[in-house]
């Protein structure tokens, strides 16, 4: 489909009412989807969790994103039609961007999303409308692709410099060695901020380098930015549980945590000392943690959030002792740009407008400089990335609380290639989508697996150990207090079925564990289990992408007709379940 046909098609689909004038359709700067009237005096743009996807991709939003207790039915725990009902404006393209509904057909119609050269075009347009804008990046930028791993995140530092990112914070950034993180942060032309990363006292004693000798902060906690004469404080909040969810061996001298009390103090100090017109928290907490934080820490105008990869079209307004704080989450994989326009009065922010704009690659021309940069970065690796491993008859995706179809491919590969009875695969939220009929290239496998601790293991586990792993991960997702959650999804299983009662307490959610042949798992019997991404110490086996690639080369055609997702108990009428 060429560009003209595509535009005619979306016009027929009645994309937006404002398109009927059609004057924007021929505009190379985008379509009506990207038209914004003027609002306020300063603009803040937000990208997050791009996971190093320099090229346009497909990304299917989840059909299972359970909210429990007071989070039931609240954003971000709504999927499909239950999410669309929260939006102020719905059209077929927006519906496709924000939900899994009719995914394959809509993806074929509207094409890929994201890609840094298309992102650059949109960001330039958004900047041009307002005499500049602040561009914030919530992190998970340096990990998620082959080229990011092979260049140790440097390809993304270069791309972000070209994009003109002003401020960033991080999470997967810290899965490179500390010295590499520091070097990349130094190469980054914007500011890397994190109020909640400090050197441990032991490391301070040993003389490790830090940003602030008095406080132990490894990075600047915040930065002041001026926008059209208004002073905006941007505080960094890195992922608080990095040394738990990811290996601490890469960053042994650093300690994290939510550090709510320190944040509250910092906000108070900034308000007193800097007299800012607005205070923004650039957060990698995850949406549920941000919502709780917003209710307890006054003085923040907006929390621009990431980590949980929720494409939240309408910000949540949270009341606290200081007034209101708006909380957003801006999706993943370069699929969205958050646009926050701020209106100022005498006492700071008096109004705002927020749009989460989907980045449809077909609607946005490539930025030539960025396109060239990306071509150059990828050139040495193209033969590896483009290797055609198999074709898929099924839609392959990961995102969702339980096994996605691409997880099933990985779990099956571990079972077959490593000759095991059971396989376990982590519930990451990154990983792109493959459409039915498409070729699975090595690049798509790397999208799902690329990281600095990819080694596989095969070992014997007792039935009770398996149950205890599932219980522990389930608690990290479903425990009611967000401060005790970690923000990933449930561990994926191969060859192992079970029942899950998310609303039960710790140790009581998982039952009825069975092998694929239907026989019950015995607590004291030993089973041969394969897995990858161990957090404790480095495993001995081959990298998971090689295991999956071998599996795909063997199969040549992939068809997933059954996903090993658990039997859910105690979940009724939940808007987070399709």
């Amino acid at each position: 489909m060429n560009r003209r046909e595509f535009l005619e098609l979306i016009a027929k689909a009645g994309v937006t009412a404002s398109l009927s004038g059609c004057q924007t359709l021929g505009d190379k700067n985008g379509s009506g989807l990207y038209a914004l009237s003027k609002f306020g005096q300063a603009r803040v743009l937000h990208i997050t969790d791009t996971h190093a996807q320099l090229m346009p991709v497909y990304f299917r939003e989840p059909s299972v994103n359970l909210g429990l207790g007071s989070a039931k039915g609240k954003m971000p725990h709504r999927v499909g039609k239950n999410l669309l009902s929260e939006m102020t404006e719905v059209n077929p393209m927006l519906s496709h961007a924000f939900t899994y509904l009719d995914f394959t057909e809509a993806a074929q119609r509207y094409g890929k999303v994201g890609g840094f050269s298309h992102l650059a075009t949109l960001i330039d347009k958004l900047r041009g409308e307002t005499d500049g804008a602040l561009l914030l990046d919530g992190g998970d930028t340096w990990q998620g692709s082959g080229t990011a791993l092979w260049t140790r995140g440097k390809d993304m530092v270069g791309a972000c410099n070209l994009l003109g990112v002003d401020v960033m914070t991080g999470h997967w950034e810290f899965t490179y060695d500390a010295a590499e993180v520091i070097a990349n942060a130094a190469d980054f032309k914007g500011e890397f901020v994190a109020q909640n990363i400090r050197a441990t006292e032991d490391a301070m004693f040993e003389g490790v380098d830090v940003f602030d000798e008095d406080t132990g902060h490894v990075f600047k906690p915040y930065v002041m930015k001026e926008q059209n004469g208004y002073r905006i404080a941007v505080i960094g909040q890195a992922f608080p549980y990095t040394p738990i969810a990811n290996p601490s061996r890469f960053i042994p001298d650093w300690t994290f945590g939510i550090q709510e009390e320190n944040l509250a103090q910092l906000v108070e100090d900034i308000r007193g000392k800097e007299k800012p017109d607005a205070v923004i928290l650039l957060s990698h907490n995850g949406m549920d943690v941000d919502l709780k934080l917003a209710s307890r820490v006054p003085g923040i105008d907006a929390i621009l959030g990431g980590h949980t990869h929720d494409g939240v079209p309408v910000p949540v307004v949270v009341k606290n002792a200081g007034g209101n704080t708006i909380v957003t989450n801006a999706g993943s994989n370069g699929k969205f740009v958050g646009v926050l326009d701020l209106e100022f009065g005498r006492a700071g922010v008096v109004g705002y407008r927020y749009r989460l704009m989907p980045v449809f690659s077909n609607l946005l021309d490539e930025n030539p400089a960025m396109a060239k940069y990306i071509r150059d970065v990828r050139a040495p690796y193209l033969s590896t990335l483009n290797e055609e491993l198999a074709t898929s008859e099924s839609l392959l995706y990961r995102r969702g609380n339980f096994n996605g179809t691409f997880d099933q491919v990985i779990c099956d590969a571990l079972l077959e290639q490593l000759d095991s009875q059971i396989s376990l695969s982590p519930g990451f939220r990154w990983g792109t989508t493959v459409l039915p009929g498409d070729t699975i290239t090595m690049e798509r496998v790397l999208d799902q697996t690329c990281m600095t601790y990819p080694e596989t293991y095969v070992r014997e586990m007792e039935g009770q150990e398996l149950k205890s792993i599932l219980e522990s991960v389930a608690d990290n997702i479903f425990t009611p207090d967000p401060y005790y959650q970690q923000g990933g999804d449930m561990v994926r299983t191969g060859g192992l079925g079970y029942s899950c009662a998310p609303r039960n307490g710790f140790g009581e959610r998982i039952s009825d564990l069975r092998l694929r042949d239907g026989s019950l798992i015995n607590a004291s019997q030993r089973y041969k289990v394969a897995g990858w991404a161990t957090v404790g110490s480095k495993s001995a086996g081959p990298a998971v992408w090689d295991v999956v690639a071998d599996h795909l080369r063997d199969k040549k055609e992939i068809s997933i007709d059954r996903v090993e997702t658990p039997v859910l108990k105690g979940i009724t009428n939940n808007p987070g379940l399709a």
Binding site: W430, V473, D481, V535
Partner: protein, 150 residues
């Protein structure tokens, strides 16, 4: 205010002072039984006898929500309550719940920090004894297998 002494030098100085400090023998002996107790109730019994335990919002008890490493969990107890002579930290689920006891002079600033072990997710308690009364606050600390972060 910026001084010539960075926090790093301050910490080093503190460590040097700590080496020179010595424990009063009597207090050490008194706490031994409490450290051997295997239930929170028994710990409280040995330390505080029959004194009633009063829940208090005047105690600041800092502990990570989720421990980065259960073997060394930083813990801080501080209070504005006056006349504090003893501070204790208890982890219910540990095989021996009593983690630390601090005997301090009545005119000392009641603000202590240490590292404790936490074997598994647990209720954590901070006790503060002052002038014949015992105050307590609780927190939850989670110890979890890692991995699966988004």
């Amino acid at each position: 205010m910026k001084t010539n002494f960075s926090r790093r030098w301050f910490v080093k100085g503190l460590a040097a002072v700590a080496v020179m400090a010595s424990f009063p023998g009597a207090a050490f002996a008194r706490a031994t039984g409490a450290f051997k107790a295997d239930k929170t109730n028994s710990v409280v019994n040995v330390l505080f006898g029959d004194l009633p335990i009063e829940a208090s919002s005047q105690i600041t008890f800092r502990l990570p929500d989720i421990a980065e490493n259960g073997a060394v969990v930083p813990a801080t107890v501080a209070t504005e309550i006056e006349g504090v002579t003893q501070i204790a930290i208890v982890i219910d689920e540990n095989p021996n719940p009593l983690s630390a006891v601090f005997d301090i002079g009545e005119s000392s600033v009641a603000d202590v920090s240490t590292r404790i072990k936490v074997g598994k997710s647990s209720v954590a308690r901070a006790y503060v004894k002052s002038r014949g009364r015992v105050f307590m606050t609780t927190r939850e600390v989670k110890v979890t297998i890692g991995g699966c972060g988004g």
